[in-house]
């Protein structure tokens, strides 16, 4: 801060001084020793404290209300039946994601191809599977045995090599996986397509001009760049699929949500059992978010000069930035 040099502007008691400022009591502070005071934000303190009180009440309520019945929660949180149901939920999510995104990439490639038949088929698939509610699709697959009693592999419209019974192949879980995956594929296809068309056309051109083979161009040049915009949306999809598996409880498949319903149906302890499911959903969703962070960080290379800090790096830096006295200094 420098002293004001125009005499007329100076408030009474302060004399303009070339090297500093004169205070009310007449002492002169050199400009180099003037410090900007930290502002005191009283309302920030008030609102923070008020909010923390509300949060504390909420947590207190969670911890003390007998209705939550945390004892029951603890008994069932890692119970064998719950663990098996959780495992089934994870499997449904895994296969739904794997088949869904696998088919999604194929559909996106078909839609972007120059073959008009493939384009139309891909478009129609997405149209159809986005239009039918998931629960209707699931019930349809669950009841596929009513439509077709046998499936056969053979020449199209010609003789069959072998046949099998539909109901022996498509049980509840396979119907659930098929329903979830086909539904997922429609959404994945659009997400993958959006990522691919977001890549600069110059990249395709450069690859073509250099003679890089088509398949290599797609997997080495285009897809890694598309991944940057695909990933946030794809993680959204995986997370919503993970929670969305609860919808297959309508088909009496013993996934997590169905299982807790069974248990509270027997014991009547609805709230603690819902909390068991909730906490497991939150735990796995959080894990997926962490995976997302690292995968995104991987695909950001080259795009950002400094990749975002990992949580560990962030903690370490925040700790180093704390206004602590340097080591070895005592008061």
């Amino acid at each position: 801060m420098t002293a004001v040099s125009t005499g007329a502007m100076s408030p009474p008691g302060t004399e303009p001084d070339a090297d500093g400022i004169v205070t009310d009591d007449g002492t002169v502070i050199p400009a180099s020793e003037l410090i900007v005071a930290r502002n005191w934000h009283p309302w920030r303190w008030v609102t923070s404290i008020a909010t923390l009180v509300v949060v504390a009440q909420f947590v207190h309520g969670l911890a003390t209300s007998p209705g939550w019945n945390w004892g029951t929660f603890a008994d069932y949180f890692t119970a064998r039946s719950v663990m098996l149901a959780l495992w089934l939920t994870i499997q449904l999510t895994f296969w739904g994601t794997l088949i869904g995104f696998g088919l999604g990439v194929v559909l996106a490639a078909a839609r972007l191809s120059r073959n008009p038949v493939l384009q139309v088929i891909s478009w129609s698939y997405v149209w159809a599977f986005r239009s039918i509610p998931l629960i209707v699709q699931l019930l349809f697959w669950f009841n596929i045995g009513y439509l077709y009693q046998t499936l056969a592999v053979g020449v199209p419209f010609g003789p069959a090599f072998f046949e099998f019974n539909v109901n022996s192949v498509i049980n509840g879980s396979t119907a659930a996986v098929i329903g979830l995956a086909l539904h997922q594929a429609a959404y994945s296809a659009e997400i993958v397509r959006a990522g691919i068309i977001a890549v600069d056309e110059g990249q395709t051109e450069a690859a073509a001009a250099l003679g890089i083979p088509r398949r290599r161009e797609f997997f080495k040049i285009i897809l890694p760049q598309a991944m940057r915009s695909i990933l946030p949306n794809a993680t959204n999809e995986v997370i919503s699929l993970f929670k969305g598996t609860s919808i297959v409880s309508v088909m009496a498949i013993a996934e997590l949500f169905y299982q807790v319903q069974i248990i509270y149906g027997r014991s009547g302890r609805v709230v603690p059992m819902l909390m068991v499911a909730t906490v497991w959903y939150v735990v796995f969703t959080s894990l997926l978010s962490i995976v997302q962070f690292y995968v995104e960080r991987h695909y950001a290379k080259g795009a950002l000069r400094n990749p975002p800090l990992t949580p560990i790096q962030w903690l370490r830096r925040s700790f180093n930035d704390l206004p602590l006295p340097p080591r070895g200094v005592t008061k």
Binding site: G202, A208, G211, R214, Q225, A303
Partner: protein, 267 residues
Amino acid sequence: MTETVELVTSPIVHSRLAIEARGVHKSFGANHVLKGVDLVVRPGEVVAILGPSGSGKSTLLRTLNHLEKVDAGLIRVDGELVGYRLKGRKLHELSTHEIRQQRAQIGFVFQNFNLFPHLTVLENVVEAPVSAQKRPRSEVEAEALTLLERVGVADKVHDYPRWLSGGQQQRVAIARALALRPKVILFDEPTSALDPELVGEVLEVIRQLARDGATLVIVTHEVGFAREVADVVVFMDDGLVVEQGTPTKVFDHAEHARTREFLSHVL
């Protein structure tokens, strides 16, 4: 592929020209961009193509490596038909794989560099010789490092393209084209996207290539550079080659009024 193109029956010179374009036509919808262009480049020659924007010079360059398909006419590079095979009296388009194999022998440098942003400088240069020409990676890497040193970015080989200045990026792009050991190199306005103070360093690299005897076709607005480096200057306007010849002939003794008018604006 069933796409065929009517062969223009003009007398074909069978000597080994570096590039030979005869009667090239190209339309984008109703827009007739190339209206029967002829262009001949001899091995070791440096050809500069000048002309107002919209005259078709970039389109012509892009037809030379089949980035644009011609509607009629023929293009040969080093005696080999580009993009087509002659069967009977019709040209049949080559398969995607065959076209890409051909393109690997024709270097192309873009106005906007088009480096692969997720690959390091070295990976950018190594990618095509390994994946398109199936050369051993170690050999290609050694050659790539030499090339990157030649274009003056030896200290940036492990950086990503976005960390480099425009001039450095374009020099990497030139090294990337050279790594394929091309028979000719095509430059599409290589300095138009650069800040003025970075133009010189890219032109210096191209000048060096010209001195080393490479066959170059350069679409450019740098008239001074064209006069200095080019053996042949081609002036295009409205989809046709209006005038061509030595720099002295085109710049100082232009025959056509259209050429003189264009040069009066840019010189």
